[in-house]
């Protein structure tokens, strides 16, 4: 049975959506209080969506822009988080590695992901290589930090029990360190993914052949507000779907974790 409260929440959500759309249409197209040059009417957004879905905009159709951005982020994210998690776990497991790697890491850590963009452009130009470098640095730092703290948060009795049972070598990593650090690792991965996505959009805004940031860039130059809204919505939906995907992987990898 659907509870009355859930029904009411759904009703309120739909009502809010309806009111927003109505006010939006009223303020823009119907009364013209907000000039169509500053903010588009809902119908214009639908038209822009049709245009980019069909004939395309900024050198490509919507799905090509999406595919390009999502592929780049996935590549950069997978490489960065693999190296990052490995380094974080090693730093967590060994005090020697921690002491060796920490100074370099302390230097990288406070630099915001977006600040890598100019450096990447100086070194690698406006192509995909620069984007992958930027994504790498954005995604690397959170995955190292969280894997490291994940290992250090494992409770002492677990280490003691595993030592008493003579667990060592590969088994120690596979059955003690990694499962113990997993919740924290996934927190890090989620932060990494968000940072990577934001940074890619920013990098594409600065310069790109195609991609969601390029839609925004082109629409901004053409003063085409409806297309800006389409671009922003695409950024949001893709980010949301990728986060959902990571959440799905998380429940697969950690079936024991209470939801």
């Amino acid at each position: 049975m659907i509870s009355v409260r859930r029904f009411a929440t759904l009703g309120c959500t739909l009502l809010a959506l309806g009111v927003v759309l109505l006010v939006w249409q009223l303020l823009t197209a119907a009364t013209g209080w907000i000039s169509p040059n500053t903010f588009p009417a809902p119908l214009e957004v639908v038209n822009a969506l049709r245009q980019i879905g069909g004939e395309g905009y900024a050198n490509a159709a919507l799905y090509e822009h999406v595919l390009r951005s999502v592929l780049l982020v996935t590549m950069g994210f997978v490489v960065a988080s693999t190296i990052g998690v490995a380094l974080g776990l090693a730093m967590g497991a060994s005090r020697t590695v921690e002491a060796l790697a920490n100074p370099v890491f302390l230097l990288l850590r406070p630099i915001p992901p977006l600040a890598w963009i100019p450096l990447a452009i100086v070194w690698l130009g406006l192509g995909d290589a620069a984007k992958i470098m930027v994504i790498f640095f954005a995604a690397f730092v959170p995955s190292v930090i969280n894997s490291f703290t994940g290992v250090r948060q494992i409770e002492r009795p677990i280490f003691e029990a595993s030592a008493m049972l003579g667990v060592s070598g590969v088994r120690y990593w596979r059955e003690v360190l990694i499962p113990g650090a997993l919740p924290s690792i996934f927190t890090g991965l989620r932060l990494s993914l968000q940072a990577a996505w934001t940074t890619l959009v920013a990098a594409e805004l600065v310069g790109a052949v195609a991609g969601l940031g390029q839609i925004l860039n082109q629409a901004s130059q053409d003063i085409y507000p409806a297309m800006i809204v389409v671009g922003m919505a695409s950024v949001a939906v893709c980010g949301w779907l990728m986060t959902l995907g990571l959440g799905w992987i998380e429940t697969r990898v950690m079936p024991w974790k209470p939801r």
Partner: protein, 260 residues
Amino acid sequence: MLAPKLDSPRFWTLTIVGAAGFIALWSAAALSGLTTRAFLPAPWDVLLRFAQLVVEPFAGFTLLQHLWSSFQRFGIGFVLAVVVGIPLGLLMAWFRWVDRFVTPAFEAVRFVAPIAWVPFAALWFGTGIGGPVLIIFMGAFPPVLINTYRGAKQVDRKYIEASQMLGASSLRSMTQVLLPAAVPSIVAGLRISAGLGWQSLVGAELIVASSGVGYLMVKGQASVSTATVMSGMIAIGVVGIGIDIALRRVQQWIEDRRGG
């Protein structure tokens, strides 16, 4: 078993080895002649450039002036986020209908990366101060709202019932029951939001601004001066750390007061 802590001399030896190794590698790569020094400067080149930027104007201003204009924008955006976020969070926690009304819109907007507001920032404000402020606001606002809301929702039911029994109005309940109880959560949110706001600002300045550290870096990039770009990165990192330390102090101070 996790190894015990390293003793102090060994720890410091390893730390110095790590740092020295990094600097040596960097210097070797810069001096090897594989690339020009403008492309990959040596560490001391960056430090020299940093010192030079503090004294001589680049892209119109000295480094400190750029930092100051960045910081002003950051301050305005951050204060706006706090001024809107805290009351809205309290309202959402107190009135269920506000919660139901705002949450869907908020969730939809939250998934838009702050940097994706750049086109509208440019369209609405040109290169004025409003553009960067809008982007900082978009970065800094969500953590303030979420943490205020969560903190206010966790208030012990007893206090709310007691205040209602004593005839407190909604306004008084919000400001004198919910708000004080939510303070630790709010301050934690402020730290996150300051970090995100500062990051978003840098991104905004890369695109829409004619002063600020981000702008300095863009100009450095345009003249292929890696040392200038790296100086900008250092300045951003240092100010970011400074902001976090200041807020951590505030957090500590509040916790001490509440504990006593």
